[in-house]
């Protein structure tokens, strides 16, 4: 334990505190700036997040990490936090244009202070979640990460879908939250303490499951609650509805930042204190992975709504990531690296996809047919779309391939060969549904007219990118390629 305001204490807490302060500052930015509130709030938030990222990267950390009052910061925790901060940053950049009218058929966003503030609160919750050393901090972190998202989902005025999605998300979220509380109380009963160390001791000491069914009940309930956040089958049903209704930037955050938080939480618990050798959790995770792959694949195949499509694709991606939890004992480090790498890669590809969706969504409904003729309207955007889809499919040398390979390798350690086979099958099938988007994008527009598509559904005007937009597109494209091809990338993550 370190004393307050010592160097290790600061290096552990400063980023989290800075983020919290940033959230509060962003809430009040509106008071300072009377004009262009949205723009200034976004600028403050971006600058602050950049500072948080720099703090996370620059502050020295003792090799064993720092612990203070049930709060722990280690190197892997810092990597998770960097992932969350990156996702939030990208979400803010993506959301900026939505505060202006005419940038989405769904209407403009309002209330930038609350929007960005809530987003940052959610990120703070994620930070707490991965640093937790006891179930209480864990639970509150989980709640803090999720609760602002309910409000964010409902934050699109004059859009009944947004409000419906928000209330549905909140209802399901409350249900999941109740499950986790219930589960935590079972675990508390079993261990007599909320601390992870006590929990780990009890969990590893159980002679057999029949002696401890309450432990199992607690584990299952927590799994249900985390499964909800992960959008893992059978807890995935909210995802398409909420993804469809939420504002685009929030959907992007749900499918990247929130998913990363869920994966991090699952890693913290199930590759940490609840890595139970005698309860065959690997089998449960394998089953959930198979079901998620199945549901995601089948669901994505017949969707024409882009957001629901992305929801199903994210369910399938959750299925791949669940494979990392089937490795059993001794695979924790490999699983963590595979997951962090995957989330980085998946997040990059997702934001590239959402970037395209947001630009297409200006003048057309966010459906797959709206992508038609994209290559003619903006070849660069179409190329970006292609890159991101290829990465999501996992075509080498793009990073998605390496990510999936690492996940499969973890699953192989415990001999889950059937799972690997199903995973590979899902990869093969994913080619089909992701290519639908690409096919649409590269379909010449005149063919569409010949086939009798309504002319109004096919906007022909070229999409022009501003300088910032071009930079963002180029950065995303470079990231997509470099993440997969740069040989030292993985070692860099692993060394952290």
């Amino acid at each position: 334990m370190s004393t307050p305001f010592s160097t290790p204490f600061l290096s552990a807490f400063l980023p989290d505190l800075a983020l919290l302060v940033l959230a509060l500052v962003v809430l009040t930015t509106e008071i300072v700036f009377r004009k262009h509130q949205a723009r200034w709030t976004a600028r403050v938030a971006v600058a602050g997040l950049a500072a948080v990222l720099i703090l996370l990267a620059a502050l020295p950390l003792p090799s064993g990490g720092v612990a203070y009052a049930g709060y722990q910061v280690t190197r892997s925790v810092v990597v998770w936090k960097q992932l969350f901060a990156l996702a939030t940053l990208a979400t803010i950049l993506l959301s900026r244009s939505y505060f202006r009218n005419g940038h989405s058929l769904r209407g403009a966003l309002a209330n930038p202070g609350a929007f960005y503030g809530l987003l940052l609160f959610s990120t703070t919750g994620m930070f707490a979640l991965v640093s937790a050393r006891d179930l209480l901090t864990f639970y509150i972190g989980l709640e803090l990460a999720t609760l602002p998202l309910y409000a964010l989902t409902a934050l699109q005025p004059r859009n009944a879908g947004s409000i419906e999605a928000g209330s549905k998300y909140m209802l399901m979220g409350a249900f999941a939250s109740a499950l986790s509380l219930f589960g935590i109380s079972f675990l508390y009963g079993a261990a007599g303490s909320l601390g992870f160390d006590a929990l780990a001791k009890v969990a590893s000491a159980q002679p057999s499951l029949s002696a401890q069914p309450f432990l199992l009940a607690g584990v299952l309930m927590l799994l249900g609650s985390l499964g909800f956040k992960l959008a893992m089958v059978p807890f995935q049903m909210w995802a398409p509805d909420v993804y469809e209704g939420a504002p685009t930037a929030v959907t992007a955050f749900l499918s990247t930042g929130s998913k990363a938080a869920a994966v991090a939480a699952t890693t913290t618990l199930f590759l940490g204190p609840l890595n139970l050798p005698r309860i065959d959790l690997g089998a449960i995770f394998a089953l959930a992975a198979v079901l998620s792959l199945l549901a995601g694949t089948l669901g994505a195949m017949r969707q024409s709504n882009l957001r629901r499509f992305i929801a199903y694709s994210s369910i399938a991606q959750a299925g791949y990531m669940l494979m990392a939890f089937t490795g059993g004992e001794g695979s924790e480090a490999a699983a963590r690296i595979a997951l962090q790498y995957n989330l980085l890669v998946y997040g990059t590809a997702s934001f590239a996809l959402f970037f395209v969706v947001s630009l297409v969504g200006r003048s057309a409904p966010e459906t797959i047919p709206s992508l038609r003729g994209l290559s003619a309207r903006s070849p660069a955007l179409a190329a970006l779309l292609a890159l991101s889809l290829f990465s999501l499919i996992g075509i080498p040398p793009l990073a998605g391939f390496l990510g999936k390979f690492l996940l499969f390798a973890v699953a192989a350690r415990n001999g889950h060969y059937t799972l690997i086979f199903i995973g590979a099958l899902a990869v093969a099938l994913s080619f089909y549904y992701y290519m639908r988007l690409l096919k649409e994008a590269y379909q010449p527009v005149q063919t569409a007219e010949n086939r009798g598509a309504p002319a109004s559904a096919v906007p022909l005007s070229p999409i022009r990118l501003s300088l910032a937009g071009k930079c963002a597109a180029a950065l995303l494209a470079i990231l997509l390629v470099v993440l997969g091809t740069c040989p030292g990338m993985l070692n860099f993550i692993a060394s952290r």
Partner: protein, 187 residues
């Protein structure tokens, strides 16, 4: 004596739960739900799990309930009566409720299914407020300083969210007003 109190409390909670589920008035249902949570809190205290009880109060009564109330009021208008559910729905709901209940009952009735570890909390049946307070502000390994502080952030976030949803219509109008000015494309 404690057994009697326990069953009494359970009966009250069950009553609230029935009201929460069957009431046609949304507001009353939410209040009854708050009652259930309050009952749970007392139960936690009685069992010596003071931290869980505290979390329950702060998070549920303080944050989530207010959020729910706001949401109910602001999205649907006041005094919304709900339609009477069909018999099929009731039967469906009963079945769904019965199945997890069967599991819990099964677990409880199983021989040898007791909590093996009597934690330190169980040794002092009713925790004193003082000990709770000290523990909340204790930065040591068994203290809960960080979650305690985090709860305040959670409450703030819940308030902000509720207010944001409540004021969104007005804000949208002002936003429109601002946006009649010509703005250059920055994305």
């Amino acid at each position: 004596m404690r057994d009697v109190l326990f069953y009494l409390l359970c009966a009250v909670m069950l009553g609230f739960a029935v009201i929460a589920v069957t009431s046609r008035n949304l507001f009353r249902a939410v209040l009854a739900f708050a009652g259930v949570i309050l009952g749970t809190v007392i139960l936690f205290f009685a069992l010596g799990a003071e931290m869980t009880a505290l979390a329950q109060i702060l998070v549920y009564i303080g944050g989530v309930m207010i959020f729910v109330l706001y949401a109910v009021f602001l999205t649907s208008g006041e005094e919304v009566g709900m339609p009477k559910p069909s018999v099929a729905k009731i039967i469906f709901a009963l079945i769904v409720a019965a199945i997890p209940l069967s599991l819990i009952a099964g677990l409880a009735l199983r021989a040898g299914c007791t909590f093996p570890v009597a934690g330190e909390a169980l040794q002092s049946p009713i925790a004193s407020l003082e000990s709770i307070g000290l523990r909340l502000l204790n930065p040591g390994a068994d203290g809960f300083l960080v979650p305690f502080e985090l709860i305040s952030v959670l409450l703030l976030a819940a308030m902000v969210g509720a207010i944001a949803i409540a004021t969104r219509e007005k804000e949208a109008e002002t936003a429109d007003g601002i946006l009649t000015e010509k703005q250059e494309d920055a994305s």
